[in-house]
């Protein structure tokens, strides 16, 4: 069944008007017509079956029929990733949505190339991936901030998994404990010695290793999210 994320409130017999893009997708790309069903979610009210009540080219009206699943809280997991190259960043956001991250935060580090990040486009990718992966919320992608500023304002109740290249760090499976976490993935060139020194000195940081080979940023992000889910998340 097709799943769409909508901002509207969802409840029995609610009407939902889709915007031009979702209307086009539903009627032209997926060729759905009046009377056919799809699933809706909005991140708050669970997942609902809805029927197409009227189908114009750019203007589809839906009627919400019945609840399919109750809303559940997402894993309390953030992904913090250096603003790497556009295609890899898009992959990372898609995979963060599939792997259950609640939020993606972008950071600028000493070795980040200051290429403009299209945060709006990344949020569209997050919505599409959330629709396809079957989750009941959409991870938000936030504007880039400097790593130093992010660490200055850090809530120490949230552990930060520092995916360090090499060194003496522990495997993620044995480093992770229950509770709220964030995973930090550096740029392709790695963190600078100063950044690594500061990260390793902070009490809320847990360094962890991702094996003996050098991983690209997208691989590191996917592997770290997977291991966190297996050790502390909803893959147990």
């Amino acid at each position: 069944m097709i799943r769409l994320f909508v901002p509207a409130g969802l409840g029995p017999n609610t009407g939902v008007a889709l915007g031009a893009e979702q209307s086009h997708y539903l009627t032209k790309v997926m060729r759905k017509g009046v009377g056919e069903s799809l699933a809706l979610f909005n991140g708050r009210d669970g997942e609902w079956r809805a029927q197409i009540a009227a189908a114009g080219k750019r203007d589809v009206l839906l009627t919400v029929v019945e609840k399919l699943r109750d809303q559940t809280a997402p894993c309390d997991l953030e992904l913090i990733v250096a603003a790497v190259k556009r295609t890899r960043l898009e992959t990372i956001v898609e995979k963060a949505a599939e792997l259950g991250a609640a939020r993606v935060r972008l950071v600028l580090t000493a070795r980040t190339n200051a290429e403009r990040v299209r945060v709006e486009r990344l949020n569209v990718i997050a919505v599409e991936a959330a629709e396809q992966t079957g989750r009941l919320d959409v991870p938000t992608v936030q504007d880039p901030v400097k790593l130093a500023k992010l660490l200055d304002a850090w809530d120490p109740a949230r552990r930060l998994l520092f995916c360090d290249e090499g060194g003496d760090a522990k495997p993620i499976l044995s480093a992770v404990t229950p509770g709220p976490w964030a995973i930090l993935i550096g740029p392709e060139g790695g963190f600078s010695p100063e950044e690594r020194g500061r990260l390793r000195s902070l009490p809320f940081v847990t360094p962890a290793t991702l094996g003996p080979r050098i991983l690209r940023a997208d691989t590191a992000a996917i592997s770290a999210l997977t291991l966190w889910q297996a050790a502390a998340g909803d893959w147990r």
Copy 2:
């Protein structure tokens, strides 16, 4: 240091002539000249430091200087993946190289689109990823075969991790045991009921789950390789 995979034998004072593409990469893209060092590996003789002895536009000569690392056996892990869409297949091969798979085998399943697979191009991607990830061998990508034929000829000494969608399968971390394994990743549309039935009936098959969300084939491959490495491979 730049790393290049070469077919030639490597030993002290050996001369190695690079082909046109690697010569161009070294002198024009990376702007290296006579006297500069790089690392060579061939999958048999370990990793060696070599120096540029002569640098023509399409014709670089290297002299092997000293051994940097002894050859080690790769993890005895195969990735078997349905021939999915080209870009996702390229991602999967790149990631299989980074995550230490020894071989990638492509399979045709009931729901595989029979788009032509460019195996030669996939092998080039495997070489480049092996060079960058720092491994001492290159995973080979083999021509597509039908799933039924692959299973008919299966060596039962190798366990097959069947990454099943949903069902009652165990998490990979608790499903994997020591020894040779292969990981099987299906097409985007999943395996057919007949394929799932046969796979689940085979004594060398272990079904395993990849969490509660629907994963794309590339995500499933990366997550499964990661968890295998963490449970039974060289990430422990």
